[in-house]
Amino acid sequence: MAFARHAQVDRKVLDRWAEAGWLSPRQNSTGQRFSEVDLARAYLIRDLQKLGVNDDSIPIVLDLVDQLHGLRQVLRELLLAMKLQQQGQDGT
């Protein structure tokens, strides 16, 4: 599969990570479909392993990274809303 080759991650490994709950690929009629965001997450897992993060710690790191992205997203929306409100007051 081109995707796994590109990620330098074996398809069997991807399936194992999905089973462990580290990846949540979409299901379709032919089985699991790994999308680009799954690929990028697989890269991150591979890099974490190279950094010496052991398998027990990987889900903890992933969870914190996901929370961080959730917070960054909300912060961005909040800043944008404040900017728009400011612009509304300035009448620009």
Binding site: H6, S24, E36, V37, L39, A40, R41, Y43, L44, D47, K50, L51, G52, L62, D63, V65, D66, Q67, L68, H69, G70, L71, R72, Q73, V74, R76, E77, L78, L80, A81, K83, L84
Partner: protein, 298 residues
């Protein structure tokens, strides 16, 4: 050309495999884009560090590199898409566990921090800013350009004739998408006009310095002059001195109303580049009483 992998990792040539791994881990922790999503500069450095470690982290590859059998450029990686590029737009993985407790309050914050509130909020997307460099003539005569946005989409930018340096072109609806069905923002393209070899623009007029020969200056005649829209023939009057300004009407910058600015040609009398014995002999016989420095009282 890739940098020396030992330098990139900051280790000596005789470092042990263990030291190399430690150096890589120390750098990668600081530089990994997904672990430092706010640091956009770290990405390039992380790429270098990873490439260096791909080479030196493997004892066989390292030995072959040390013997000169392979070089560092062989390890350059293909462009990697990082998780942060997807995660922040919201994916199945995005988690609100970091702020779910803020959502209970019955105030403005619940709009943002509650999932439900966020689904209802409707906002215009933000504007995005780009810079586009143009040659002076393309800006004056108008042009079409394609701008590739960071997300890979290609934008057609129509440069209207007469575009100025620093002008901002607004492309409606080409900015970031709106939130909750809100309209998208605009793309704002700031134009930077590169200076031209001999044309300068002042307002809607074009200034150019035109060299003429001694005989053209003394006797006058027809000379060819460049304008932004092409070469034209103009008449140099008899006794035209250096600094004489001639106006070519309508040869300047097009205006929005369809009219055009002028081109102002400043003449500059040039002697031949190589000494001309015939001219020297001729001038030696010329008895002039004119003193050009009279006004300076010298």
């Amino acid at each position: 050309m890739a940098a020396d992998p030992y330098t990139v990792l900051g280790v000596k040539k005789d470092a042990s495999q263990d030291e190399i791994q430690k150096a890589y881990r120390r750098l990668a922790k600081k530089l990994h884009p997904d672990l430092n999503p706010g640091n956009k500069k770290a990405e390039e450095q992380f790429k270098e560090v990873s490439a260096a470690y791909d080479l030196l982290g493997d004892a066989d590859k390292r030995a072959r590199f040390d013997r000169g059998e392979i070089d560092a450029s062989g390890t350059e990686r293909p462009q990697q898409r990082y998780y942060r590029d997807f995660a922040e737009g919201g994916s199945q993985y995005t988690s609100d566990a970091g702020f779910a407790d803020f959502a209970g309050a019955d105030d403005i914050f619940s709009q943002f921090f509650g999932r439900e509130g966020r689904a209802n909020i409707r906002m215009r997307g933000s504007d995005v800013h780009y810079r586009l460099e143009l040659d002076l003539l393309d800006a004056i005569n108008g042009d079409k350009r394609q701008v590739t946005l960071p997300d890979g989409t290609v934008l057609d930018v129509h440069i209207p004739a007469g575009t100025r340096d620093g002008q901002i072109l607004r492309l409606r609806g080409k900015g970031r998408p709106g939130i909750g069905g809100g309209p998208p923002g605009d793309a704002l393209v700031e134009i930077e006009v590169r200076p031209h070899r001999f044309f300068t623009r002042k307002g809607d007029d074009i200034h150019v310095e035109l060299p003429i020969s001694l005989s053209e200056a003394v006797l006058g005649g027809k000379v060819q002059a460049p304008t932004p829209s092409g070469i034209v023939t103009m008449t140099v009057p008899k006794w035209s001195n250096t600094g004489t300004v001639l106006r070519l009407r309508g040869k300047g910058v097009p205006r929005v109303d369809g009219s055009k600015g002028d081109e102002l040609v400043t003449l500059k009398v040039m002697l031949p580049e190589k000494p001309d014995p015939e001219l020297e002999k001729f001038v030696a016989h010329w008895r002039g009483t004119y003193s050009p420095r009279q006004a300076m009282e010298v």
